[in-house]
């Protein structure tokens, strides 16, 4: 058992390094880096590339990857992305870093190749030496982890708490502007923090690879555990993050000790550890009535005041007049054009493209769930894919195993998800945006590993086949069924936004205090929108399963849900038509890449999806609304020019008359 505890402390130590990196950057910049796991994977893959594939030797490989590449990556990402995020909304911060988490592993595959790696070496020379400490065998790899944990966590914590450098870092979170005025260059501090954080990510990756495996999927568990520790630390407390990490490592190891390794419940329980810790923390917070609502406030009034304010030219009285005078076509032309295109598209294509298009439209339905919960409700839920998955898997069960009519099974799948959505909504309702994102992400991992792995769904890896309804058996016919379902839900979403409910939702998104003192029940609004979104996700999931004629649990991985969000947000999170465009892009781009690009560039669409989400840092409303806005700017400039010409003309005429 002691041996298991030692192994657990090693795992916990790696979690601790990861959670420390997350807390340090959050403490200094207000950004919770959802790409931390991907950065860890990227550096670990580079270390493997240098050490194992190109035989650079351990020391040179470690120096190059941890002390050169990792800080350079952190600094490059700071300049490219993080510096623009400081005073952005929680949603933009989460989505931009999630976009990075999508792009980085794909970039790693593009650079380092697609070879699958079965075992990855650590920092100890092979074969790894084993020491006997008090009768317990301890490997050199484990000793190195202990040393690294002590060096990084303890010394790092002391520096942050007691040194002048630490003081400057902590001052940054309160106000970069005030830090600047007091003689410290905030940019230099930020660059340093991101370099150190990236080093932490690399270290966690290189140390963790021999234990958890060098695979993006395995790194999600590492990051889920680190996130759970960060939640328990209320995003800021380094000691609590470290202690929780160590406890989770030991708990994971003890599960392996107590449960037989052959049992499926062993891996299920291990994946449930982070969620169990979060659940304990939530219950404790509930009992102690601790405030988890306003965790994302960064920067002082001065910082807010010196930020560019308002919507510039588009918020002027002229713009308002232009808006009211814009014709029907100018106002709705884009949406009408896309609708016509999506109506005729099924008639224009065939073969593999036709089978992708039917899925694309089903994706559009699922994406409307994101539009509802994130775009309208303002809640950063990262578990929509779990809801869609539950809808899909139950559609398969009801339609195939219980012989229900398939479309009825789709609706029933949605209704099964509805109460789960309401429940998650009620649990997370009082929490700040980042907590909601972290908890729903961990929930999704739990569902993926605990529920989707049940025998009735996996069916020995085959999944459950689903027959389409007889009247819409072909791809083309079922594409139109999906389009009709999409149209009905999209009309509902558009109507909701224009209605009193939509205005009240805007109120809740903007300021809960303002909304509550106006008579709006924030809890009711959020729970209702969460339930509706879950229903839509469940129906969309069912439609996608029917479109694919199979309900396969592997199609609903949490990481894929993050890619979905990245695609949708980069197109537009608040537009119904954007949901369909995103569905088409997500379903068609990979096949376009496979068909028209060399196989080495097959990861390009994923990188593009990730980059699109990173672009949200600059254009938070997505490309659809951004282009609409550009069009309005163009019209406004034209109107001003015409007005200017008319004035000049009148002055000229008056001059001539006098």
């Amino acid at each position: 058992m002691i041996q298991y505890m030692i192994a657990g402390l090693v795992l916990g130590g790696i979690y601790a390094i990861a959670s420390s990196g997350l807390v340090v950057t959050y403490e200094s910049s207000g950004i919770l880096n959802f790409a931390f796991g991907s950065m860890a994977y990227f550096i670990a893959r580079l270390y493997y590339f240098l050490e194992t594939e190109h035989h650079f030797g351990i020391i040179l490989s470690a120096v190059l990857s941890l002390f050169v590449a990792a800080p350079v990556l952190g600094i490059a990402l700071y300049y490219a992305l993080f510096q623009h995020l400081r005073l952005s909304s929680s949603l933009v911060k989460v989505v931009a870093t999630l976009g990075l988490s999508v792009a980085l592993p794909a970039l790693a595959t593009l650079i380092f190749g697609t070879a699958s790696i079965l075992t990855a070496p650590g920092l100890a020379p092979q074969p790894v030496r084993v020491f006997n400490v008090g009768g317990v065998p301890v490997t050199l790899d484990q000793i190195i982890v202990y040393i690294c944990v002590i060096l990084t966590v303890v010394i790092g914590g002391l520096v942050l708490r007691f040194s002048e450098v630490g003081l400057r870092v902590r001052a940054m979170v309160d106000s970069p502007a005030m830090t600047d005025l007091s003689g410290t260059n905030p940019r230099r501090v930020s660059v340093g923090v991101w370099a150190v954080s990236s080093f932490f990510a690399g270290l966690a990756g290189v140390l963790g690879a021999p234990i958890i495996g060098l695979d993006t999927q395995h790194f999600t568990l590492l990051i889920a555990a680190a996130f759970a520790a960060v939640v328990a630390a209320r995003l800021r407390s380094l000691p609590i993050a470290v202690l929780t990490s160590l406890a989770m490592g030991v708990a994971t190891s003890l599960i392996q000790y107590w449960l037989p390794s052959s049992s499926p419940w062993t891996s299920r329980c291990i994946t449930a550890v982070p969620f169990a810790f979060i659940a304990v923390f939530l219950i404790y917070s509930l009992i102690r009535r601790r405030d988890l609502s306003d965790s994302t406030k960064v920067g002082s009034a001065l910082d807010a005041a010196i930020q560019p304010h308002g919507q510039g030219v588009l918020a002027s009285p002229e713009a308002a007049m232009l808006d009211s005078s814009m014709g029907f076509l100018a106002r709705y032309g884009g949406a009408i054009g896309f609708t016509v295109l999506f109506l005729v598209l099924p008639l224009l294509i065939s073969g593999v493209w036709s089978s992708l298009l039917v899925q694309a439209y089903a994706f559009g339905i699922i994406f409307l769930a994101f539009t509802l919960v994130i775009g309208e409700g303002g809640m950063i839920w990262l578990c929509q894919i779990s809801f869609a998955g539950i809808g899909a898997l139950w559609t398969g069960q009801l339609a195939t195993n219980y012989h229900w009519p398939v479309l009825l099974a789709v609706v029933a799948g949605g209704l099964i998800v509805l109460p789960i959505g309401l429940l998650v909504g009620m649990i997370t309702i009082r929490l700040g945006g980042l907590y909601v994102a972290l908890i729903t992400l961990t929930f999704a991992l739990l569902v993926e590993n605990l529920y989707f792995t049940m025998g009735r769904f996996t069916n020995g890896g085959l999944g459950v086949n689903i027959l389409r309804p007889t009247f819409a058996g072909s791809d083309r016919a079922f594409t139109y069924v999906c389009l009709v379902v999409f149209g009905i839900i999209a009309l509902f979403v558009v109507n909701l936004r224009r209605s009193t409910t939509g205005m009240a939702l805007d109120a809740v998104r903007s300021t809960e205090q303002g909304a509550r003192t106006l008579g709006i029940s924030v809890v009711q609004m959020k729970v209702v929108i969460a339930g509706l979104a879950a229903l839509v996700a469940g129906i969309g999931g069912g439609m996608l399963a029917v479109a694919q004629t199979s309900a396969q649990p592997v199609n609903w991985s949490t990481f894929l849900g993050v890619v979905w969000l990245a695609v949708l947000v980069s197109v537009g999170i608040r537009s119904a038509i954007a949901a369909l465009i995103a569905g088409v892009l997500f379903a068609m781009l990979p096949q376009l890449a496979v068909t028209y690009l060399p196989s080495s560039l097959s990861e390009l669409p994923t990188i593009l999806f990730g980059l699109g989400a990173i672009g949200v840092a600059k254009f938070p409303q997505g490309t659809v609304e951004q282009n609409g806005e550009n069009f309005r700017r163009f019209l406004l400039r034209q109107a001003r020019r015409r007005q200017g010409n008319a004035e000049l003309l009148s002055v000229g005429t008056e001059g001539a008359a006098s």
């Binding site: 308002g310 919507q311 209605s499 939509g502 205005m503 998104r509 909304a515 509550r516 003192t517 924030v522």
Partner: protein, 273 residues
Amino acid sequence: MTPPAPHSDFALECQGITKQFGGLIAVNDVSLHVPKGDIVGLVGPNGAGKSTLFACISGLLRHEHGTVFLNGNDVTKVSPQKRARKGMARTFQQPQLFSGLTVREHVVLAHRLRFESRRLWTDMIGPSSLRKPPTSETEAVNRIIELLEIQDLAGLPVSSLPLGSTRLVEVARALACAPEILLLDEPLSGLDVNESEQLARALQRVVKESDHGLSMLFVEHDVATVLSLSDTIYVLDFGQLIASGTPEEIRSSDVVRAAYLGDEIVSTKEGDE
């Protein structure tokens, strides 16, 4: 000891409100009342506990001790949204506006929440958003917008407005709830002289012309405005009520003069003379 019974002529009554943050007592056993149809001012230096008291009264903060009565009904344990529905409206020191809505939409939403609250849910599934709004709503909304003289801003998104205008929008939104008690947290701060006078005039008029006996409790740093607008004034210092009375009584109070108002009250008095 049983607390005294609430007074039926008071729109708002607070009895012994105490609010602590850890070891700090932000508001200490404060009692005040706002008679129906009156304007009551609340003054005090920064950190005196005025905004905390407002948060307790509106229900956004839970206080440890004390009772809040709205029109004689105990609302101490009632949520902020229910207090709003019972006729309490407020503005904030940092305006809390809805960034995606225009000025007019703020007023429309507040009006609907007060008079057609079922539309909050029925609109979601019905086509009401396509129909023209009822004349009564349009007239009521126009009246408030005209009263605050913000017709030029009505179609603009609030995110484009300067601070002074956002205060006017917040007051318009609060008035659209047709409240019986209006709580204003530093409504004049950030306004220029013209805007201040415009808002002060509008507030006096709205209380005077109100057909349902609107009362007002407001926090303000501009002492001259408080003295000229209020029927009664309460003075807070370090979380405690140190004086209360008519503007004349406050003007001549040595306690207030010594503890807070200092030279400013003297100059105001001399100016009046």
